[in-house]
Symmetry: C2
Subunit: 220 residues, 2 copies
DNA sequence: ATTTTCATGTGAAATGGTTCACAAGAAATT
DNA sequence: AATTTCTTGTGAACCATTTCACATGAAAAT
């Protein structure tokens, strides 16, 4: 008995990012009291084309009404579902330095359903300290505590020199996705998702743009 | 007398990001004692194809030696020049909250030649306080102080509700590029470069990936 | 009820980005 | 000096993404 895969078309990274943008804009439209919105209006707010908006959505179904547009609440719920943010995700932060401790208090995460439930460090001076109500745990207990809390994602904010070790630990503990802030190319097995957040890279892009008078088609 | 533009080909955002990656890897290769490197080796380290590496570089000139590869020091210098990071950039941070104050101490910025020289806030309790040797200035003095120091880029880490006002001020003060952390679509005139850093979006991507068992071609 | 207006959903076309494949040229080897 | 080995640089081919353009269908207006 062969279990058929549902012939999933490959969705581009850009489409998924735009879904995030639509989601955020739909939240705003809700607050502004809109009941429906057209692909045109949605596109205007993101500096995209209406066709782009419609095409993005069409990969996942047809959610609009011809002649009318999309129901704001409904579309938001639908995109939330697609993105998998129609629930709470529990996260841990590994490395409670500058960036790590800033992210503990980052409102935008909780607002989107990402809740930081555990903090880890290897520095004895930090272990036991309290950040926004969370006690920093010893990295040695990672395995046990990740399993206990059912944590599926972690944020890595340790120095580049130790990042790979932390990732190995975290992978062993069964984590499914990692957001990495260390400026290094990490290795993860194919069943673990990795994203790199590289803030210097963004500044370098700006530097390039100024120096070269760059006019990209569609910049972040 | 018409001033001819040098028919600059449009470089893609991805190419520029990859240049940043090459730059970082070349720094590492320097430390490891390599004198030359092939496109193949460079590609392996970034999980790219050798053709991609060569094509990226070819947009800017030909820097290698056939049969031998690229001189590590030379190529690094060349890419540094292209990216415009062969010099110091002076930056200010607007909004000294969680994220803002974390970035003041962010080593990776200074390492790449981005030096934070001014901090601004509108909160009287923060103004005058010392972060890593820098005194937080009143946002009211933005214009004067930006001009004084010749600051060309700023990082915006204020709440979304006030971000547009800050951007307007900063643009008026003559800033050329903005790295924005507020989760909102900002408006800037066409001669000002804007990049948005949206960390929730990265988590949402991971959420999508887990839920949909996503296998993108080439993920960040 | 009929017509007009509007905006979706989607194949097809156009554009943009990546990979292939190979000629060219430099260094190493015979 | 000639040959072999290696790796670059780049048009051409390929693949992915975006935009176009229009048939379709729902709502509003007559």
């Amino acid at each position: 008995m062969s279990s058929e895969q549902p012939a999933k078309k490959r969705i581009s990274e850009s489409t998924i990012h735009r879904l995030s943008m639509y989601y955020r804009t739909l939240s705003l439209l809700q607050k502004e009291g809109y009941e429906t919105v057209s692909s045109k209006e949605l596109a205007n707010r993101e500096k995209l084309t209406p066709a782009q908006v419609r095409k993005d959505l069409s990969f996942f179904g047809s959610f609009g009404t011809r002649g009318l547009g999309y129901d704001v609440n409904e579309l938001k719920a639908k995109i939330g579902e697609i993105l998998g943010i129609d629930r709470q995700w529990k996260l841990a932060i590994i490395g409670i330095g500058n960036i790590g401790s800033a992210l503990v208090n980052y409102k935008e995460f909780s607002r989107q359903g990402f809740s930081i439930v555990k903090l880890f460090d290897n520095d004895q001076r930090k272990i036991g300290s309290n950040h926004k109500g969370i006690i920093v745990s010893d990295i040695k207990n990672l395995d046990k505590e990740i399993a206990e809390d059912g944590i599926e994602m972690v944020i890595i904010t340790v120095p580049a020199t130790v990042a790979q070790y932390m990732v190995d630990d975290v992978v062993r503990a069964g984590v499914k996705a990692i957001l990495n802030f260390a400026p290094i190319n990490l290795k993860v097995p194919p069943n673990v998702y990795l994203r790199n957040e590289n803030m210097s890279m963004e500044l370098e892009y700006l530097s390039f743009a100024i120096v070269n008078n760059h006019t990209p088609k569609n910049s972040k």
